[in-house]
């Protein structure tokens, strides 16, 4: 069943069951995952999966149901389940259906060159060639190309479609001597076929892996740290949940009542821009069909606004940040392309400003539930990086953990770098990111980080 047929069937069934309003989001996810080994062996996984998410509203209550069975029987089951579920919900809890009438920006983030048969194998081959150097080897490079078509309709007559694609690269460079082995896993993503700096990422992977062979463990203590831009976005992923309307409306976020107050260092301006040029997930409308726009959440450290969907934003009269990761996930008030606005200092200047400390190049367990507690803000993540003495890099550090609290960390951001980078979307289901949003940052100089090492 195509989208038009699906919408017509849902309209008929939802009217017959007496829904007051409804939203339908259909997502078609296509992916080609290509792996190329250094022996030249190629592997491929291809997919095309389409699913529908329905939010039905009745007597002020709304329930969400999804299905991958896009025939009449599947849609009937979806609507009847929604009818049953709405009866169990609290009256007045439903966010309204977007009434339409707004204007939508034009967003072009679909590059046909990414879909060309030769793109992924050539890119993988290029990486395998450049990441196998001397004592450093790379067994396999994986290139994944994802395309997504988002189609949204609702009972107010809104009907929208947007298609975008992007590619991700994943490989591990392993430096090996007879005594030890150290590795650096690299991710990169872009929504243009010419958006990958292969020389740059291979050089960074190879040199980082090699440098780690000589790494020591730092002494435990409190440090100033420069988080390199390719990992600083992970910090944004950690704290941006504080600004979600869902967290704020429940009173879980500790900044719920801090609008207009300083909650971060003066150097921090945090923006969510669903219309960002070259943003991986940019889209002119959200999962509810509301026109999207750039929002300044923090301006020079002062909290300006939160991210809302139509339910959480009713009091504030705001919406446009209602997103589903995939059709089988709930609608949340969440970011799209969220990033810290770059400043003017390069990384060398940030290290010079820091004096003594650590220049961090690797972080793991950065996601909620692993190294981060989204409610308390506590974090604890294993890290690797370079020792910085008198502003200069001298030697590498490994086997240590950084820890702290994100609410405190926000206030301890002293300076921001000049080059914005986005972290790779964390993916479990091909084509469907596992976390809401695309997170970016320039390098960040942050004080007062606890380091647990020797």
């Amino acid at each position: 069943m195509n989208f038009r047929e699906c919408r017509e069937t849902v309209t008929e069934l939802a009217q017959a069951q007496g829904f007051d309003g409804w939203e339908l989001e259909c997502l078609t996810n296509e992916s080609v995952l290509t792996g190329l080994g250094k022996d030249g062996k190629l592997s491929r996984t291809t997919s095309r999966v389409k699913g529908a998410a329905f939010r039905g509203i009745k007597a002020g209550r709304s329930a969400e149901v999804f299905t991958e069975r896009l025939d009449r029987q599947g849609l009937e089951r979806m609507i009847l389940t929604a009818l049953d579920d709405t009866a169990s919900l609290q009256p007045g809890s439903a966010g309204p259906v977007y009434a339409g009438g707004g204007s939508y920006e034009t967003v072009n983030n679909y590059d046909p060159a990414l879909d060309e048969e030769s793109f992924a194998p050539e890119l993988a081959r290029n990486i395998v060639q450049k990441a196998n150097r001397g004592i450093v080897f790379c067994d396999e490079a994986q290139v994944s190309v994802y395309s997504r078509t988002r189609q949204v309709a609702n009972s107010a007559g809104v009907e929208l479609e947007h298609r975008y694609n992007y590619a991700t690269v994943l490989f591990t460079a392993t430096a090996r001597t007879p005594e030890k082995m150290r590795e650096k896993m690299m991710f990169a993503s872009a929504n243009r076929a010419d958006g990958f700096d292969v020389d740059g990422i291979c050089e960074a992977a190879v040199s980082t892996a090699k440098d780690l062979l000589e790494a020591e463990t730092p002494e435990s203590g409190t440090y100033s740290i420069v988080f390199r831009n390719d990992i600083a976005g992970d910090l944004v992923a950690g704290f941006s949940i504080f600004f979600s309307g869902s967290q704020v409306s429940k009173g879980i976020s500790l900044v719920s009542d801090k609008q207009g107050s300083r909650v971060a260092g003066q150097a921090v301006t945090l923006i969510d821009d669903p219309l960002l040029k070259n943003g991986l997930f940019s889209c002119p409308f959200d999962s509810q069909g509301v026109p999207t726009k750039s929002k300044t959440i923090l301006e020079n450290g002062v909290l300006k606004e939160f991210l809302h969907n139509t339910a959480t934003g009713q009091a504030a009269g705001d919406a446009g940040s209602g997103w589903r990761i995939n059709y089988d996930e709930p609608l949340e008030a969440a970011p799209c392309n969220i990033y810290v606005k770059p400043g003017t200092a390069n990384d060398a200047a940030l290290c010079a400003q820091m004096g003594d400390g650590i220049y961090l190049t690797s972080l793991t367990a950065t996601f909620h539930g692993a190294g981060v507690n989204a409610v308390s803000g506590d974090f604890s993540m294993p890290a690797k990086g370079y020792r910085v003495k008198a502003g200069k890099l001298c030697g590498t550090y490994e086997l240590f953990t950084i820890s702290g609290n994100y609410y405190e960390l926000l206030n301890n951001i002293r300076a921001v770098g000049d080059q914005l980078a986005f972290v790779n979307p964390y993916m479990i289901i091909p084509g469907a990111p596992a976390e809401y949003g695309n997170y970016g940052s320039p390098s960040l100089l942050i004080d007062g980080i606890s380091v647990s090492g020797r």
Binding site: S43, E64, S88, L254
Partner: protein, 460 residues
């Protein structure tokens, strides 16, 4: 979902196109989750996964494709396209499929989809009230019911069609204690491979109080110390450590490249001799149990480490070809949207000889890790990092003050030799394991363990 004749056609297309093994995986999976937020039903998300995966092997090469367009033309075309990439020699004969019936070791009584929402919400309200009643400092309680009714059909060019139905029921309780300046959380998530009778058999109110106690305790806890010290891992959820830091390294995908930490080490001493590890998918109604895996192979009890010596790996069909070892019923996937790979089921440390009190008494100064949260482990270097959700200091053989924001880090290949006391009392903690073939139910079991030396990362 599909007639046997079409399954035979798809497999025949794969084999006649050059594959030496073909497999069709069908799934019809009905799910529901209900969220109760501070006593009010916040949301209900229901749905149906419905699709098909086709996998072909030629030697040790594999091609996988999946779709939810189950039309005959689409499926045959996908099989043909996949086979053409393998460039093998075409077989001439077709495949005839016969049904294989598995023993059901995981019976269920009340199928969740047949039970109304009001009954489920009633259980959630009971859990909410118990947690809230624990202390006025509990400001927020989120409770979530989760159910899944998973029907699978797996047809392979070995000539068999396996069908299975698995019913899962689980709840999550997350409590937040707050003093207005800071928040702390407590979190438990028990579940079983059974129906709604799980709620009747489990102490849901006791579980809610435990989660509340954890949050309140942490609100009054000081920072954890930093340093190298003995660590005692509590039984039950402490087993997350064993799952992540050791279990993943023994999956065939981690060793088949030859670069894994335990590649080619069967028969080698890799842990202290008091340490025994088993992966057992046959435990009746265990959260990670299976009748058959997602490749149609019966679950087994697989001894991985015996007296500290590596005795086996968890092996899926592709790993079997690559390692030359028989598959162990470990081929698992979240859904048809993933190619299966070697995964854990119910992984447990075999009980030893010590009472819990003896283990605690043996430590002069160290950390008691009661609940372990998420973490990461590297299967090549075996470096690991885990958050300890609830921890206490041990002083002079006594469990003393709670501490928070602790993490444990190290290298598992070294830590395994530091495990020097294994308790008598086995307990399990249910989790969802995320890896290459998606997020899967796994049960992690262990008795209390003492690790003589471990790096604790705190903020003090």
């Amino acid at each position: 979902m599909l007639p046997h004749s079409l399954l035979e056609e798809i497999i025949t297309v794969g084999i006649s196109g050059g594959a030496d093994y073909a497999e069709v995986f069908l799934e019809d999976n009905v799910k529901k989750q209900i969220a109760l937020d501070n006593g009010a039903v916040e949301s209900i998300l229901s749905g149906q996964d419905y699709g098909c995966g086709i996998r072909l092997f030629l030697g040790t090469s594999s091609i996988y494709t999946f779709t939810n367009d189950l039309s005959r033309n689409n499926l045959l075309q996908l099989a043909q396209e996949s086979a053409s990439q393998l460039q093998g020699t075409a077989a001439t004969s077709g495949v005839s499929l016969y049904e294989s019936v598995s023993v059901n070791r995981n019976p269920y009584l009340w199928v969740p989809s047949s039970v109304g929402n009001s009954k489920k919400i009633g259980y959630l309200e009971t859990i909410h009230k118990s947690a809230k009643a624990y202390s006025p400092e509990i400001k927020h309680v989120s409770v979530r019911h989760w159910e899944m009714d998973r029907k699978r059909t797996i047809a392979t060019s070995d000539g068999l069609i396996h069908s299975d139905r698995s019913v899962y029921t689980r709840f999550f309780v997350k409590t937040m204690a707050s003093n207005g300046v800071e928040n702390q959380t407590g979190f438990l998530r028990p579940g079983a491979l059974k129906g709604m009778e799980f709620y009747e058999e489990y102490d849901i109110e006791g579980c809610a109080r435990e989660a509340a106690k954890s949050a309140v305790t942490l609100l009054h806890a000081g920072p954890a110390p930093t340093g190298v010290m003995p660590v005692v891992l509590a039984n039950g959820n402490g087993a997350v450590f064993v799952h992540e830091a050791i279990g993943h390294s023994l999956e065939s995908t981690a060793v088949e490249s030859g670069n894994g930490a335990y590649s080619g080490k069967i028969g080698s001493q890799i842990a202290n001799s008091c340490f025994n590890l088993v992966d057992d998918g046959t435990i009746p109604n265990g959260w990670g149990s299976l009748n058959i895996d997602d490749e149609g192979i019966a679950a087994t009890r697989n001894v991985l480490i015996k007296d500290g010596i590596l005795t086996g790996y968890m092996v899926d069909r592709l790993g079997s070809r690559r390692l030359g070892l028989p598959p162990t019923g470990a081929g698992r996937r979240q859904s048809y949207r993933f190619a299966p790979t070697s995964r854990m089921t119910n992984t447990m440390v075999v009980p030893g000889q010590y009472e819990d009190e003896e283990i605690i008494r043996s430590v002069d100064y160290g950390l008691f890790a009661k609940e372990i949260g998420g973490g990461t482990a590297n299967v090549v270097t075996t470096d690991y990092n885990f958050n300890v959700l609830e921890a206490y200091m041990i002083r002079n053989g006594q469990i003393c003050e709670p501490v928070r924001a602790a993490c444990i880090t190290g290298r598992a290949s070294e830590t395994l030799f530091e495990i020097d006391m294994v308790g008598k009392h086995l307990a399990f903690g249910q989790g969802m394991c995320g890896a290459a073939s998606g997020s899967l139910p796994v049960d992690n079991g262990q008795p209390m363990l003492r690790i003589g030396k471990m790096t604790v990362g705190g903020r003090k």
